[in-house]
Symmetry: none
Subunit: 191 residues, 2 copies
């Protein structure tokens, strides 16, 4: 039991280095287990504990718990033991947390403060899922005058309009069809 933790740590290190889990034989070498059946037992334990799972094609894959990025919920004093098991470490790599469909997701840098009341500041990176249609209330990246514009999509008498989240800016009422580049699904800010 107590040792499973260090085994898991080794696997986590390995995964961090290679972004793939090794085979049973390699796990054995890595952890100092000489028999694959020992590895199988270990893997079964880790699966039971929710750290590993199998993909549909029966390959070993880490679960989100496997990543255990410390998501600090309550203050942890230095010196106190780190409650690894129970305190449900969430959040994975940030990429995994934010991005569900990598192939259709892009980042767009925000210019200006027209969305600052929605907590979107100048210089932020907006995570955008490319899509040609959106619904009222979603924040969208639209193409206006051959430029990206980040605004909230709203309906005004059956007509789509782009509403900034800053009273200093006017609502944009596109003349023809509204060209939507994608929908905002997340935000990243670096200080």
């Amino acid at each position: 039991m107590a040792n499973d933790r260090s085994y898991l740590a080794s696997l986590q290190d390995y995964y961090a280095r290679h972004r793939a889990l090794p085979s049973y034989a390699s796990i054995g070498t890595l952890l100092g287990l000489r028999s694959k059946s020992s590895v199988a037992a270990l893997v079964a334990r880790l699966k039971l504990a929710g750290y590993l799972e199998s993909t549909p094609d029966r390959r070993l894959a880490p679960t989100s718990r496997f990543f255990a990025r410390p998501l600090a919920a309550t203050p942890v004093r230095a010196g106190l033991p780190d409650p690894v098991d129970d305190a449900e470490a969430d959040a994975v790599t940030i990429d995994d947390y934010l991005i569900e469909r990598p192939s259709s997701t892009v980042l767009v840098r925000v210019k200006g403060d027209s969305m600052q009341d929605a907590g979107i500041l100048d210089g932020d990176l907006v995570v955008v899922e490319k899509r040609v249609s959106a619904e009222k209330g979603e924040i969208v990246v639209a193409i206006v005058d051959n430029q990206f514009t980040l605004k909230r999509l709203d309906l005004e008498g059956g007509q789509f309009v782009l509403r900034p989240e800053n009273k200093a800016y006017p609502v944009i009422r596109p003349e023809g069809a509204l060209e939507i580049f994608g929908v905002m699904i997340g935000l990243v800010r670096k200080l």
Copy 2:
């Protein structure tokens, strides 16, 4: 060539779902290739292009380029060629972008709206670099009453105070020493 991109996209989506790459046979099923040798050729091409690599124990693994998100700068009309190959410079993984010192970096979920004027909303994840000291003007996670508090650090007559970014909240003037957990270096929001 042109099709390799869509193949790659499928693999990226698969990896995002399962955190593991499928076997050659499964790749074939996934992409509609009936022969494993076709898959082998594809994999060789993707390795050459720097998207995939082999681990020491000869397992397929993604590279960091595999994860990189395109950073869209100017609007790209549908129909125009997608400048993915060359403009690879403007691609970034969010983790690399945000986190410089992984071992001392944690995520803290924001509760409440006391920092909303700084574009930090309820439910956001704050990227915090653990550190015991900070400077005036930095946004810090402090421990007050055994709870995390996210505030901007300020000086008031030689004394550190915690200033919310929301006029509805009062400035916190700690009685004894101010216990600092870390400094905010970034922010992640998922909608």
